[in-house]
Symmetry: C2
Subunit: 244 residues, 2 copies
DNA sequence: ACCTGAACACCGTTCAAGT
DNA sequence: ACCTGAACACCGTTCAAGT
C-alpha cells in the first residue's frame, strides 16, 4: 500500500532493448514488496509492475514464482553474516549463539520472508555458508564429522522453525513489540477452561512467552547442551522408512 | 488430477435449501485435494467445485482461505493421538519420542499439510492437546512449570520445523522412499567445490541424511537430553526487544 | 538475448438478492 | 440461515512474435 512505487511508465535503464533488468534488481523489488505488504503480496505480476515491465519478462531471469521466493529467502539469509560462526575454538558456543540471534533478528526484520523460509530447500549459497560455519563450530566443540553434521541440522531446524512459528502466530504476520505480543497471547488464552487444559492454564504466562527472545535463547542453549553432552540415549535406530 | 472428483451437478444432500454442507465435509474435501495435488492446489474455488457449490457458499462456514488452511492443519494434527503423551512418569522420554515419531509420520502422510503447518498459529484444539500432553510429560521428567513450558515449545518447534524443512527439500513436495531421497540429495551436492565448502563436502554423506528418520530421532534425543540436563548456561537474558 | 502481445485457465472476496 | 449471481480485482504461465 506504500513504499513500493508502481512504475507503469518507462524501464529503469536507457532505451536499448538489452539488459534493462537484472536478477538482483528483481529480488530488490520482491523483498521490498514482501516487507511492505507481507508474503501474500509477492507475485510475479506485482514485481513486474513495479519494474515497469510485462509479467512474462521476469521468466528470462527466473524459472517462476517459486524461484523468486527462493531468491528472496537467500537474500535475507545472507543478511546475517555467517562469519559470526568463525572464531576461537573455545568460543564455539558463543559463536553459534551470536549467529543464531543475528539470523533471528534479520528474519524478524523481514517477517514475510520468515514465512517463506520453510517453503524452499536450504541449498542456496547462503544456506551452504550457514551449514559450513556451523559444521566448523561443532568441530571445534569436539564433535566428530557425523555428529557435527547432525547437530548442525538440529540447530538450523530450531532457529528457522522457531522464527517461522513465531511469525505465524501474529495475526498480520508482523511481530510488534514483545511486551504487547505476549499480552495479546495471554488474552487469547483467557477463555481456556482449566477443566479441559489444566496444565496449559496453569502455565498460561509461560506459554504466552513462547514467542520471546528469552525463550529463543533458552531453547537454543538447551539444544546446544544436549548436542554436546555426549550422552545420547538414542534407542530408535536407523530403520528404513517408506514415503507417504 | 485424480482421486478428487469435480462434482459440478447436484449437492450431496436432498433438495432443501438448509444444511447441504458442513464444516467437516469441507475440510474432508480440502484435505483430499491437498493430498492429491499438493498445498498449492488448495483453493476455495476448487473445494467448492468438488462440493458442487458456488465459491462464496463456503464463506458461510469459514472466514476465508486462511481459516480453511488452519482447519486442514488441525485435522492432521489430530491424527496423531495426543494420548501417546500420557503414561508412566518414569517413561516420560519414551512418551515424547513415541508421540513425536507418530506426528512426523502423520504429517509425512500428508506432505502438503506439512507446508501449511508453519503458516497458522498453533492455537486450535489439536494444538492445545499437544501442548497439554507435553507439559505433563515434562512435569513427570521433573521440570518446574516454567521450564516444562519452555521445553514444550522447543520440542514442538523441533518436530514441526524438521518435518516442514524436510518436505520443503523435495522438489514436488512429495517425500519418496528414504534411500532414494538421500541419494538424490547426495547427487545434488556432487557439484560442490571443496575449496569453497571444505567441511560441507567432507560431510556430504551425513548432510544428505538430514531428511532421514534416524536424523529426526537423533536430534529429538539430543534435544530432550539438553532440556532435562539441568545445566543451562543461558548467558543471554530477558532483555526486551522491539518489533521489526 | 531480451522483451512484448495476447491469451488461457485460474484465484479470493464482496455484495445484493433470493428462499 | 444458507446459498446464488454477478462482479471486481487479481493470479502464474505459455507461446508466438518482434528487435
Amino acid at each position: 500500500v506504500n513504499d513500493v512505487e508502481e512504475q507503469t511508465s518507462t524501464p529503469a535503464r536507457s532505451r536499448g532493448p538489452a539488459r534493462s533488468l537484472s536478477l538482483e534488481q528483481i529480488v530488490d523489488v520482491a523483498l521490498a514488496l514482501v516487507d511492505a505488504e507481507g508474503a501474500d503480496a509477492l507475485s510475479v505480476r506485482r514485481v513486474a509492475g513495479v519494474l515497469g515491465v510485462r509479467p512474462n519478462t521476469l521468466y528470462t531471469y527466473l524459472a517462476g514464482r517459486a524461484a523468486l521466493e527462493q531468491a528472496v529467502v537467500e537474500r535475507v539469509l545472507a543478511e546475517a553474516d555467517p562469519r559470526l560462526l568463525d572464531g576461537d575454538a573455545s568460543q564455539w558456543r558463543a559463536r553459534i549463539t551470536t549467529y543464531a540471534l543475528a539470523l533471528r533478528r534479520r528474519l524478524r526484520a523481514h517477517p514475510g520472508v520468515a514465512a517463506l523460509v520453510m517453503r524452499a530447500p536450504m541449498d542456496g549459497a547462503a544456506a551452504l555458508a550457514v551449514g559450513e560455519g556451523m559444521l566448523g563450530a561443532f568441530a571445534d566443540a569436539g564433535l566428530a564429522t557425523e555428529d557435527a553434521a547432525r547437530a548442525t541440522w538440529v540447530v538450523i531446524v530450531q532457529v528457522l522453525g522457531s522464527v517461522a512459528l513465531d511469525v505465524a502466530d501474529t495475526p498480520d504476520g508482523r511481530p510488534g513489540p514483545e511486551r504487547a505480543w505476549v499480552a495479546s497471547r495471554r488474552a487469547r488464552m483467557r477463555g481456556l477452561d482449566a477443566a479441559d487444559w489444566p496444565l496449559t492454564v496453569a502455565a498460561t504466562d509461560d506459554v504466552a512467552r513462547w514467542v520471546t527472545k528469552a525463550q529463543f535463547a533458552w531453547g537454543l542453549d538447551a539444544v546446544l547442551t544436549g548436542l554436546t553432552s555426549g550422552a545420547q540415549h538414542g534407542a530408535l535406530g536407523d530403520s528404513e522408512e517408506q514415503g507417504a
